[in-house]
Amino acid sequence: MLEAAGSYFDGTSAAKHKVQVRLDEEKGTLTFDGESLRTAEHWRLEDLRLLADQPGGGWLTFTRNIDGEDETLSHEARLSVRDGVMNARLREAAPLLHKRDLHQGVALRVLKWVSGAVAAVALMLFVILPAMADTLARLMPLEREQQFGRAVVKQITWFLTQSTEADITCTNEAGLAALDKMTARLTAKMDMAYELNIQVFDQPMVNAFAAPGGQIVLMRGLIDEADSAEAVAGVLAHEIGHVEHRDSTRNALRAAGSAGLVSMVLGDFSGGALAVVLAEQMLETSYTRQAEGAADDYALEALGKAEVSGSGFASFFEYLLKLQGDMPDLPVYFLSHPPSQARADKAHAFADAQAATTPVLSEADWAALQAVCD
């Protein structure tokens, strides 16, 4: 029978009992007694548990499993054994040394709370915050929205040029006049809530965006790549749709509410920041899809009323779809405006059903617009 010295704490007081521990493998018991202990203790080996994640050297602390309401499901008593031979023997002789005991019904509780938390977060992210963002976007005074929009455009300029001084707007007067003509044609029969402020940035990327308060920016690359004035008109009408629907204001409000939430759920584990960005991006896309569809509808309505052919818009989608094949050189436009065959088909169907159309710009005006950044 193996014997070793140990310390025993009975779980009712902080007094230490020096004990002599005996391991009886045949009976499957661990017995120990000491001067300060009134009666000897007998622990069954299958009840013996080793406290998790202890340092390996020196002594080990054991406890005894019981069916109780204690937070650990173990008896409050502890036994520390400092004898290496005994500890090594116990590791082999005690069958359930590393078993993690769980309260009954734990799985159900976990399930309940996981689904509760998921439901609460989903409700916030997909119902309450978007609804609030919608209301607040409507409540926002026009002047404040315009101010915010100008700040956004300024930030994007800064981001593109890495300089606060740079001015990258294109200023060719004939080109801007042509752009004005196009805008006037598109908005003449639409009910406009916003005064538009449309600029062209001298940037090679194929992109366009709408900022809050009527700010629209077209990038030079978009005009360069467009095969007709109608394609530019389609994109412009689409962006006007975003403006009229207050999409970017709503998006900014929603992002303000959900950013903290998302980072809270994902926590600060290593690389957490990366995950937060990705999650926020995915969330964004799911809202965007809806907003994009609505802006497309608006664009087609505007093109229809202005009697401008929708086939240019459709061909632009096909241009983007073709680019999608050549992965690496992805235009930025693709990220915020995911093209799809469905959207292209819709524009095609619309174009086919259109009655008489007239060119949106004269040959000369289209040439001027193409030279707006020269």
Binding site: D53, P55, W59, A120, R144, A252, F269
Partner: protein
């Protein structure tokens, strides 16, 4: 001054074991998209707690990852609603200021809107701090007997918010009052078994520990000020440099000596008292050496890894092999996560653990005979397992 009736703190954790544990748990955290982090923290705590011992008897951490996870879920439900709405409304009202600050007054407005955002969370953070400490106390045992802490998180949040405002308004001069009162608030509610802790002493006594902060501030203001006024750049830079360093070390000195004062004026029951003798120089040495080791290892890995990746990428760049390029970016992203995990583990091993070891081994408990009279206290099942602290990211690596 050590007598047979004293207990000197001991620490027996090793670098190898802790590093292994930290790496394994962080990897599991990454693989599970962060869900394992509750179990990871718990396991690190179990290791560190059981490495701390007094009189040859180890501490024990009885918390579980599962209850932390559940506590976090509870907190999420509450915070999802609170944070989402608060942040959006503040953003809405903040927009008019944030948009285009053109005058200094508008800049001030913009900054204050950002801080109001923080202030909305601050009481919750203090609430979470108290709850976290209470949870840790309730899940700590020594000689089989539980520690514990009474409820009082809202009282703490209220006081801590007030003292924080006072501290800001007084430019830090009232820090001793805030530190002392808050420490006393927590300590007076703490128990070991059926024996209660009590914090004695006076808050004004902490001003002695602040002396180096004052010296640093004086150097910063006076010397740099003189240099600036006389337009002597060398004097100004030297003043800022020396003053800043002095201020930093002075802050450390304050915290170390506040620890000493708190321990010296702390009692447990009627017969047990404490002495803590951490040294500023030792703490500084541990942090600096640990930082240098971590920096050197990280730098070496970045150099080797960077060279290897650059080599592979440049050999692929001409081949237009986009599949391989995508594969490489995934590898780089994974390596980035692994590097972050490694830095976290190294910090734990080379800074956190040595510091804990220093604080524990310089801590003495007087009157150990009285410990035999202390009886067990009932366990607490209903604690929220610091879910709020986890959700708000309060507290460090473990």
């Amino acid at each position: 001054m050590s007598t047979s009736n004293d207990i000197q703190g001991q620490y027996r954790g090793t670098r190898g074991e802790l590093f292994h544990l930290a790496i394994v748990t962080t990897m599991l955290t990454i693989i599970t998209l962060g869900i394992y982090r509750f179990w990871a923290k718990t396991r690190i705590r179990k290791y560190i707690w059981s490495s701390v011992s007094g009189d040859g008897d180890a501490f024990e951490y009885t918390g579980t990852g599962l209850e932390k996870f559940l506590g976090f879920l509870v907190a999420i439900v509450v915070l999802a609603i609170y944070l989402g709405i608060i942040q959006m409304v503040l953003f809405f009202f903040g927009l008019s200021f944030v948009a285009e600050p053109t005058t200094p007054a508008e800049m001030v407005m913009m900054v204050s809107v950002l801080y109001i955002n923080l202030l909305a969370i601050l009481p919750l953070v203090f609430y979470a701090v108290y709850r976290a400490r209470r949870y840790k106390m309730a899940r700590t045992r020594w000689r089989g007997v539980r520690f514990g802490m009474e409820q009082g998180a809202w009282g703490y949040a209220l006081r801590a918010s007030g003292y924080t405002i006072l501290m800001i308004v007084s430019l830090g001069l009232m820090a001793p009052l805030a530190n002392f009162k808050l420490e006393k608030y927590m300590m007076d509610r703490s128990w070991y078994g059926d024996a209660q802790f009590e914090q004695h002493g006076k808050w004004t006594a902490l001003y002695g520990a602040m002396k180096h902060i004052f010296i640093g501030a004086i150097i910063l203001v006076v010397i740099a000020g003189i240099g600036g006024a006389l337009q002597i750049e060398g004097v100004m830079i030297a003043g800022v440099f020396v003053g800043y360093i002095w201020l930093m070390v002075g802050g450390l000195y304050y915290r170390v000596h506040a620890m000493r004062y708190f321990a010296a004026n702390r009692t447990l029951g009627e017969h047990i008292s404490f002495t803590a003798e951490p040294r500023t120089g030792e703490v500084l040495k541990l942090v600096v050496i640990g930082g240098l080791i971590i920096g050197a290892i990280t730098f070496a890995i970045l150099m080797v890894g960077g060279l290897a990746i650059t080599g592979v990428v440049s050999s692929l760049a001409d081949s237009q092999n986009f599949g391989a390029m995508a594969f490489i970016s995934v590898i780089v992203a994974v390596l980035y996560l692994v590097l972050l995990a490694l830095i976290g583990a190294l910090t734990l091993v080379f800074i956190t653990q040595p510091l804990i070891s220093h604080f524990v081994t310089t801590y003495t408990v007087h009157g150990k005979d009285a410990l035999a009279e202390i009886s067990q206290r009932a366990g607490e099942v209903g604690v929220d397992a610091e879910g709020f602290a986890d959700a708000l990211d309060v507290g460090g690596a473990f």
